[in-house]
């Protein structure tokens, strides 16, 4: 693969918490325009890796480059530019509880200090419509909303500046199957309308099968497989055969016959 097509490059990354080693020599390249899913068991460090890519934590060793630039040693303006091009959907939404739904989505736009209030209003209403939230909810506070609505509004906020790179941390965790399907459909629709790269951490096989172009599997402190779903399933590793070919995995994959045939 051409190196310059990498939107995120992780090289030789080690993570340690005290004496506990989480990651050993992880290398990863996320290509522009793809949906990459990070999977792994609990405690395998999916969230830790994601936080390091986002620059929320610093790895013990190794480098992370986003848009070809290292995360550290940059001036304020460069970091701000980089941040404006990324959107993050946190697991619990992380809506600002002091701000209404409208103000939550408008905040990143206002912080740009380039858009006037009329334009922000149109954009916020557009984003709300995109995530199928009725305008009547715009003046509500996050505390008054259900979990599914919080997720969708958080997605609208993550998409506020039309980012090139979108991070989804457990996008369907805590949603009922119907809402979760709706959420996956929503991301698929947005992906077809806008061009952006998605990095997603999930446990949910349905979400994984429906959205991912490539899958990265974290187990035994390493990246044990990286490739399309078919390639990953054919990798010989205990975690992968448990995760994808267990009872739950087979049930999910049955809906996608071509992949199932490749394992049988």
């Amino acid at each position: 693969m051409p190196r310059d097509n990498c939107i995120i490059e992780v090289e030789g990354l080690y993570t340690r918490f005290g004496n506990h080693v989480v990651h050993e020599n992880i290398g990863l390249c996320v290509q522009r325009g793809e949906v990459l899913t990070l999977v792994g068991g609990s405690g395998s460090g999916k969230t830790a890796l994601m936080r390091q890519i986002l620059g929320l934590d610093t790895p013990a060793e190794g480098t992370v480059r986003v848009f070809g630039e290292p995360l550290r040693n940059q001036n304020r303006q460069q970091i701000q530019n980089m941040r404006n091009r990324c959107g993050v959907l946190f697991q619990k939404g992380a809506l600002f509880s002091a701000l209404s739904v409208y103000d939550n989505i408008a905040l990143p736009m206002r912080e740009l200090r380039m858009l006037d209030e009329d334009m922000i209003r149109d954009l916020v209403m557009l984003k709300l419509e995109m995530v199928e939230i009725a305008p009547a909810h715009a003046n509500k506070m996050p505390a008054e909303l259900s979990g599914g609505m919080i997720k969708r509004i958080a997605l609208a906020r993550a998409m506020a500046l039309d980012p090139e790179l979108l991070f989804l941390d457990e996008p369907t965790a805590g949603l009922d199957p119907e809402l979760s399907d709706g959420f996956v459909r929503l991301i698929k629709t947005m992906k077809s309308e806008l061009t952006f790269t998605i990095v997603m951490a999930t446990h949910d096989l349905d979400t994984l099968v429906a959205l991912s172009d490539r899958v990265a599997v974290l187990a035994d402190k390493r990246l044990v497989a990286l490739g399309t779903l078919r390639e990953v399933i054919n990798t010989n590793h205990a975690f992968i055969s448990n995760f994808f070919c267990g009872v739950r995995g087979r049930k999910t994959l049955r809906s996608n016959n071509s992949i199932l045939n490749s394992i049988l």
Binding site: D118, D122, M130
Partner: protein, 379 residues
């Protein structure tokens, strides 16, 4: 710092061309995205609205490479909130304008009632009443818990009481000593200067003894503890509410009042008189040091004269204040902690209210003691 590939950094350009039949057309080229438009947004908006004033103009958007919502909204607003009569656009970009056409109107902002001063005042009165009622309920609950524990001494939460005793008492010794010592020094210094004028040096013992033991020690300790332990109690209960730990306790059948609130109230009721004693002692030492330096009164003389001029009832009064203030602080802090709702705003406001109320109540308790015990310990 724009991406280099796919030519997605080419700027947005509006070009006006006149075709063969004299038909004017605006060709939009480049990228119609927020990242590319950036600082030029005002300039492009002005250009657009100028061009849009000609309704017969044709708009050719087929040369646009990338478009996003912000770019679409910019064009849309330039056209005056509707599509121009002649618009040529790539099919994948057509959806942006379709969505904009279907966009619902924003909800009207909430109107402020003209009678707001009255409603605000009314709400404040009701809120005060609600606070009083739930404080009384909480205190009553604690009494019932004590009654329950009296029958089953094995259920007394000793561990929680001792943990709270350590946190609110032992860990407060440093700060109360520092503040107490400094106040003692200041008080002694200022008083001794005045007394020297009248040659009444010896009365420094009366002034310091009475004021520190009866008044300053207890009030100082109570205010410090209210700020220190009160705020932490409120925040702790508030965070437990936010993280649903309180609900987890309830579904396990462990009442909050028994395991969380009663230990705090009892522990602070026990710790406060001790902290008061400590603060008063250190403040007196501070005063004594200055009296020795400033007036040449030896500390042995100071200590031997102290019991003669300050009745021991003043000490009991100070300790009594400590018990009352300690229990009141714990009760109020827990009350505000339990009222916190599961959002960050409420957590901040609750903690502030808790500390402000505790300190106010400490002063009120002090005033009540002063009136009720006006005839005790003073000669």
């Amino acid at each position: 710092m724009m991406p280099e590939n796919q030519g997605s950094s080419s700027p947005l350009v509006l070009r006006r061309v006149t075709g063969a039949k004299g038909i004017s057309c605006v060709v939009v080229e480049g990228n119609c995205t927020l990242a590319v438009i950036g600082e030029r947004i005002q300039q492009i908006a002005a250009e657009l609205s100028q061009l849009a004033s000609e309704p017969e103009l044709r708009w050719d958007l087929t040369q646009v490479a990338h478009m996003d919502d912000a770019g679409a909204v910019l064009l849309w607003r330039g056209w005056g909130g509707h599509q121009p009569r002649y618009l040529f656009v790539k099919p994948e970009h057509q959806r942006f304008f379709e969505r904009l056409e279907e966009m619902p109107a924003p909800p009207p902002p909430v109107m402020r009632n003209r009678l707001w001063p009255i409603t605000v005042l009314g709400k404040a009165v009701f809120l005060l009443w609600a606070h009083l009622v739930s404080l009384v309920i909480l205190a009553g609950q604690l009494v019932l818990e004590i009654k329950y524990l009296a029958g089953r001494p094995s259920r007394i939460p000793w561990r929680e009481i001792s943990a709270n005793l350590y946190r609110t008492g032992a860990q407060a010794l440093g700060i109360t000593a520092l503040v107490g010592f400094l106040i003692g020094v200041v008080l002694s210094y200022l008083s001794s200067r005045q007394l020297q004028i009248f040659g009444a040096d010896i009365f420094i013992v009366n002034i310091l003894g009475l004021s520190v033991i009866r008044e300053i020690g207890p009030v100082l300790a109570a205010i410090l503890v209210a700020g220190r332990s009160g705020s932490s109690m409120t925040a702790q209960l508030g965070v437990m509410r936010v993280t649903e730990e309180l609900d987890a306790l309830t579904v396990m059948g462990i009442p909050h009042s028994l395991r969380l609130i009663l230990p705090k109230v009892i522990a602070l009721g026990l710790a406060m008189p001790l902290v008061v004693l400590w603060t008063s002692a250190v403040a007196l030492i501070g005063g004594m040091v200055v009296a020795e330096i400033q007036l040449g009164l030896g500390h042995k003389f100071f200590l031997s004269r102290l019991p003669d001029v300050v009745a021991v009832s003043n000490l009991w009064l100070g300790l009594g204040k400590g018990i009352a203030c300690g229990m009141a602080i714990a009760l109020i802090s827990c009350h505000f902690g339990l009222r916190i709702k599961s959002n960050t705003e409420s957590l901040g406001a609750g903690t502030t209210n808790s500390v402000v109320t505790s300190i106010t109540v400490v002063i009120i308790i002090d005033a009540i003691f002063a009136v009720v015990f006006a005839d005790v310990g003073l000669r």
